[in-house]
């Protein structure tokens, strides 16, 4: 008797998105609806057919609202993935779990963000603008241990982690630039991308230092926009209009989180969440990093892509930096072509879910930086969060 897993049980059959821009002047709910409608059109199903919902717990539009937006009381299964960007790939693993267990037939996954700098700054803690400016002055959570010291935001926490990687392995500014430039080149071929002007190494190095060693061009851009994906059983997927992006494997791991910096540094690096996800993921997929045709890392910072390459086994420990040199991540001839949409560094920042959508396009063969004969795509969430990853495969 075989061990029950989600392997090849479900597939992504619809993808949709809004325009991406610095500011769209729309609410997160309105943008979510547009992306969801586009995903339904893409799949050839009605919004009323959606009976399962997997959302980020930081999403503004809750299940009750979504139920009404989808045209009636259709939602029978609803869960979420915590820790923001950590969930950008595992949302698909969770959706596949629901399908495999017969808990839902059409599962919606989406993310909507009105956080561009000039967007309507909501007053709610998770609404609009920079969350860290709204922490307040009385801190009862774990952020009480670093915010009063002046370490107030994710990019500063990532700077600390990035600096340690440089101390241990000699990672360089040039290697950071190699990541940023490769993804910018991808964005320049992607009409949907927000940042489409060329970037040189000199441009990168000349950009403002935000928190050493991270410069402005090492950071994700801030944008408005939404994306959505629809997941159904592989059997049903074969009857729909698009080639299925089969969810070959998925895995999640709680643990290391950038907010708990001290704990992160106190642990064995192989016990961090991302390496644990990698072991479970490739075991379920019965394959190895070398089998992956295109990869999508949660590129909130250039340095984090370098770290993720190591954590997920694409490069040995300490060799992520050299791996990205000389167009190592660039289409079409890189060692490992990554983030062909331009990623969050250059396409848009939709909490990583825009990378997941692009992975589906790669499996369909419709990317603007299409990898020839792409059959296996790797997608990972934020690697310094409790996180997850999936493998998407072609059905051929």
């Amino acid at each position: 008797m075989s061990v029950p897993t989600i392997r090849d049980k479900a597939a992504v059959v619809g993808i949709g998105q809004t325009r991406f821009a610095r500011s769209l002047g729309q609410s997160e709910t309105e943008m979510a609806v547009e992306a969801i409608w586009n995903a339904c059109d893409d799949a050839g199903i009605s919004p009323r057919d959606i009976d399962g919902l997997v959302r980020y717990d930081i999403e503004q539009t809750d299940e009750e609202q979504m139920c009404e937006l989808l045209g009636g009381p259709s939602i029978g299964y609803f869960v979420g993935t915590p820790f923001g960007g950590g969930g950008s790939a595992s949302v698909l693993a969770v959706a596949a779990s629901a399908i495999a267990a017969g808990m839902a037939r059409h599962v919606l996954v989406y993310r909507s963000r009105a956080r561009g700098k000039s967007s309507s700054y909501g007053r709610g803690r998770d609404q609009g603008g920079r969350y860290w400016e709204k922490l307040g002055t009385d801190l009862s959570g774990l952020n009480q241990w670093h915010v009063p010291q002046g370490l107030v935001s994710a990019f500063q926490e990532m700077a600390m982690i990035s600096q340690r990687h440089r101390i241990e392995y000699g990672t360089t500014d040039d290697q950071y630039a190699d990541v940023a430039i490769a993804f910018r080149q991808h964005a320049m071929r992607n009409p949907a991308a927000v940042m489409r002007t060329p970037m040189t190494r000199e441009d990168h190095h000349a950009s403002r230092m935000i928190a050493d060693p991270l410069r402005l061009y090492d950071c994700n851009i801030e944008t408005d926009g939404a994306v959505a994906l629809l997941v159904t059983s592989l059997e049903r997927a074969r009857d729909l209009r698009r080639p299925p992006a089969v969810i070959r494997a998925g895995a999640m791991a709680a643990g290391s989180h950038h907010i708990r910096l001290s704990n992160l540094f106190a642990r064995d690096p192989n016990a961090e969440s991302a390496p644990r996800v990698a072991r479970a993921l490739f075991a379920m997929g019965d394959c190895a990093p070398a089998d992956v045709d295109v990869a999508f890392f949660y590129d909130f910072f250039t340095s984090m892509v370098i770290l993720a390459l190591e954590q997920y086994g694409f490069a040995p420990r300490g060799e992520g930096g050299p791996f990205v040199e000389n167009g190592g991540l660039a289409w079409p001839d890189g060692r490992l072509v990554c983030n062909t949409n331009g990623g969050q560094l250059s396409e848009a920042f939709i909490h990583g879910l825009n990378n997941t959508v692009e992975a589906v396009r790669q499996i369909r063969g419709t990317s603007t930086s299409q990898v020839d004969g792409c059959r296996l795509a790797f997608v990972a969430g934020a690697n310094t969060d409790p996180t997850g990853a999936v493998l998407l495969a072609s059905d051929r």
């Binding site: 009862s140 241990w145 010291q149 002046g150 107030v152 910096l261 001290s262 106190a266």
Partner: protein, 135 residues
Amino acid sequence: MTRVVPRPVPTADNAPFYDAARRGELRFQRCADCGTFRHYPRPVCSRCLSRRFSWERVSGRGEVYTWTIVRGPTLPAFEKELPYAVIDVLLEEGVHFVSRLVDDPPDEIRAGMPVEVVFEKLDDEITLVKFRRRR
């Protein structure tokens, strides 16, 4: 936008830390069974799962494990201090503690730099634990 420094709220778990800091002492939880120091405060030892512990005073000496120099943006409360160095201190007892390097220019920071604890009173209840270069 407020310019008040965000302050920790003592809870049942962490109050002994802040009580000690107010007296000019650095104390961390230490497992009564395996002897491991830990931070942040929690009711269980992650190493051996023991729930027996005490709050033990430590040397206050350590070294810079990693750091960042914050150049902005940051919270308005800290803007007048830009640029400033946030450090992760690896204490002699094996505990990591996120803190601020005081007294020295941030650009002089380096990995392994020896540091020692200093206490900075925020208000009657809260004293922040910071570090300076140990010469």
